[in-house]
């Protein structure tokens, strides 16, 4: 076991480390390394305030352990209130990751430094294992368009998003993860495929990747991509977290033809197709902390625990399969 101090990581930093039986690769410093500060086989869920009571009651401890919780950073940017206090309590027992939806990393006009300062305030308060946001933009001319809008995969976009990511990492003093988007359109002009664009961002900024398996599934369907080729083309070393979520189909008639687009709405169970893709990701890239997201039609806490357990079971099955082959 490496010395925690060598990694710039105190034992208090991560409750999982205190009881750990897993090993962590040596790294010179946590700040910009590709080393996850949490067990690769960790499974977590997206935290909702409605789950606080059940979490505090510990009624599902045992088969349904949660290794970490993820929150939307913007939901914890208030000055005070019970929601922040409850997250303080959760943080005493669990690692937290911060997942932003508002940094607008692809903004041609640059970052909103006021928002970045708010991210740092939340980071300082909760000392998260990951800080992530998206390969997208949402701020234009001072207005916040509340969606993860698609970037053109061109050299000018690459330049601006890399610049913004470097600025965010410098300001926070640590590495961030960026997530592949769900996309409903492609632009007429492109210099890169999405995977090439992601890998090039990693090369230029040293950031990590948060790979959303559902987003690959949705975008592959919407654009006719080969999802498995996408996964094989990713810089697996840079991948530090997986997301799993549900989506829905939007369909309509156009000139007598049925049109279908898959929408990443985080409002249902992870579908079988996404689970199969997750299995493939585990085989090709390997275990990474995996998180279930569910942001609409919020289900019971138990439902999310079941989904999280399923992710854990997939990881276990892959491990057992590997052991079986070896012996």
């Amino acid at each position: 076991m490496p010395d925690h101090k060598d990694m710039g990581l105190s034992k208090d930093f991560n409750p999982i480390l205190q009881n750990s039986s897993f090993s962590i690769v040596n790294a010179p410093s946590l700040d910009r390394s590709n080393v996850s500060p949490i067990a690769p086989c960790a499974c977590g869920i997206g935290l909702k305030p409605s789950y606080f009571d059940e979490i505090f009651s510990k009624k599902y401890d045992g088969d349904f352990n949660v290794d970490f919780f993820e929150v939307h950073t913007e939901n914890y940017m208030a000055e005070g209130g019970n929601t922040l206090h409850n997250l303080d309590r959760i943080r005493e027992e669990f690692p937290i990751s911060l997942h932003g939806v508002g940094m607008s990393l692809g903004s041609a006009e640059g970052l909103d430094m006021g928002h970045l300062a708010r991210v740092r305030r939340v980071m300082d308060r909760y000392n998260p294992i990951f800080i992530s946001d998206h390969i997208s933009f949402s701020v234009v001319d001072g207005s916040y368009l509340n969606d993860l809008l698609p970037l053109t995969y061109k050299h000018d976009s690459l330049k601006i998003i890399s610049q913004n990511i470097r600025q965010m990492q410098d300001f926070l003093g640590r590495q961030i993860l960026v997530e592949n988007p769900s996309r409903y359109l492609s632009f007429v002009e492109s210099d890169f495929t999405e995977v090439e664009f992601l890998n090039e961002i990693v090369n230029q900024t040293g950031c990590g990747l948060l790979i959303d398996i559902n987003n690959i599934y949705v975008s592959a369907f919407n654009h006719g991509w080969d999802a498995r080729h996408y996964i094989r083309s990713l810089n697996g070393q840079a991948v530090q977290e997986y997301h799993l979520a549900g989506h829905s189909d939007r369909s309509w008639q156009d000139d007598g033809h049925m049109k279908i687009i898959k929408i990443d709405d985080h409002g249902s169970n992870v579908c079988d197709g996404v689970w199969q893709l997750y299995r493939y990701v585990l085989e090709i890239i390997g275990e990474r902390p995996s998180l279930i997201e569910w942001d609409q039609n919020i289900p019971s806490y138990f439902t999310l625990l079941q989904e999280s357990k399923r992710a854990r079971d997939y990881m276990q099955n892959i491990k057992e399969g590997a052991v079986g082959k070896a012996s």
Binding site: E79, G80, N82, N146, I160, L185
Partner: protein, 267 residues
């Protein structure tokens, strides 16, 4: 870079219903019309902002009805895109927007109900501070009492402390329209003005009190930076509402909204 900027402005214009044509030429159809692909993003943005307004103004939603509220929220969100990603604050000028709708002329209290909901939310998210209990308040106050005449005493309120008034009984309208309300008491719109304070305690419990006008004015003066003596002098000007400084202090102590009693020497 200019092209990228133009592309990003195109998405904003799309949501604002202003100009979609140029952006559509930049999108590959690939079996689905560019306008239909862009419509998905536009719908996602508008839908999420309507949901944010529903979350932030639940009583207004209940009073207006889902369908009508949503149609107002749709127009509002296209004209008033958020300025930050903190949707907990979205709808900053929604109360004023409601007051300008001719269709709501018969519901003159709607603006104040929406303001009350906004204040309730601000109170919830306000910074948390240690608050003086009424016993601690009196201990500190009595220590300074002997010097009251020679020194100025100022009150620091907890950041969650909010005052608001209305010409309508919005406190009752609000209470009757809470999910857990079991009181079917009716309200009379001509029942007169109400003066309210909202605050949260150290256990995050939110409270709304209806105040007598004189106490409301006293607290407002203190919150605006008047000393105790200055605030009490104003009280005498309120017609027909005799109120001594001691009575005002008793009520201030009971509310438990003070974080600090500051003494500033006149010298």
């Amino acid at each position: 870079m200019e092209r990228l900027l133009k592309m990003q402005y195109g998405f904003k214009l799309n949501v604002e219903n202003k100009n979609r044509e140029w952006l559509e030429t930049q999108v590959m159809a690939n079996g689905i019309a560019a306008k239909d692909r862009l419509k998905i993003y536009e719908n996602n943005i508008c839908h999420s902002l309507i949901i944010a307004l529903q979350d932030n103004f639940p009583v207004t939603l209940r009073l207006l009805g889902q369908e009508y509220f949503d149609s107002i929220a749709m127009d509002y969100s296209r004209e008033n895109l958020p300025r930050t990603p903190l949707l907990m604050n979205y709808g900053e000028n929604f109360p004023e927007y409601l007051s300008q709708l001719r269709a709501l002329d018969d519901y003159p209290y709607m603006e104040d109900i929406a303001k009350l909901e906004q204040n309730w939310r601000k109170c919830y998210h306000a910074a948390d501070r240690a608050i003086l209990s009424k016993e601690a308040f009196w201990d500190e106050m009595l220590m300074e009492d002997a010097e009251l005449s020679s020194r100025n005493i100022y009150i620091e309120f907890t950041p969650s402390f909010i005052l608001m008034s209305s010409s309508y009984p919005i406190d009752k309208i609000w209470q009757i329209n809470q999910d857990d309300n079991i009181n079917s008491e009716d309200y009379n719109l001509t029942g007169g003005a109400c003066y309210l304070t909202i605050f949260k305690d150290e256990e995050f419990k939110m409270t709304m009190f209806k105040l007598p006008k004189n106490l409301y004015v006293f607290l407002q003066n203190l919150a605006n930076g008047d000393s105790l003596v200055q605030a009490s002098e104003q009280l005498e000007k309120i017609e027909g509402e005799g109120f001594t400084l001691t009575e005002a202090l008793v009520q201030l102590a009971e509310l438990e909204i003070t974080t600090e009693i500051k003494i500033i020497s006149k010298d």
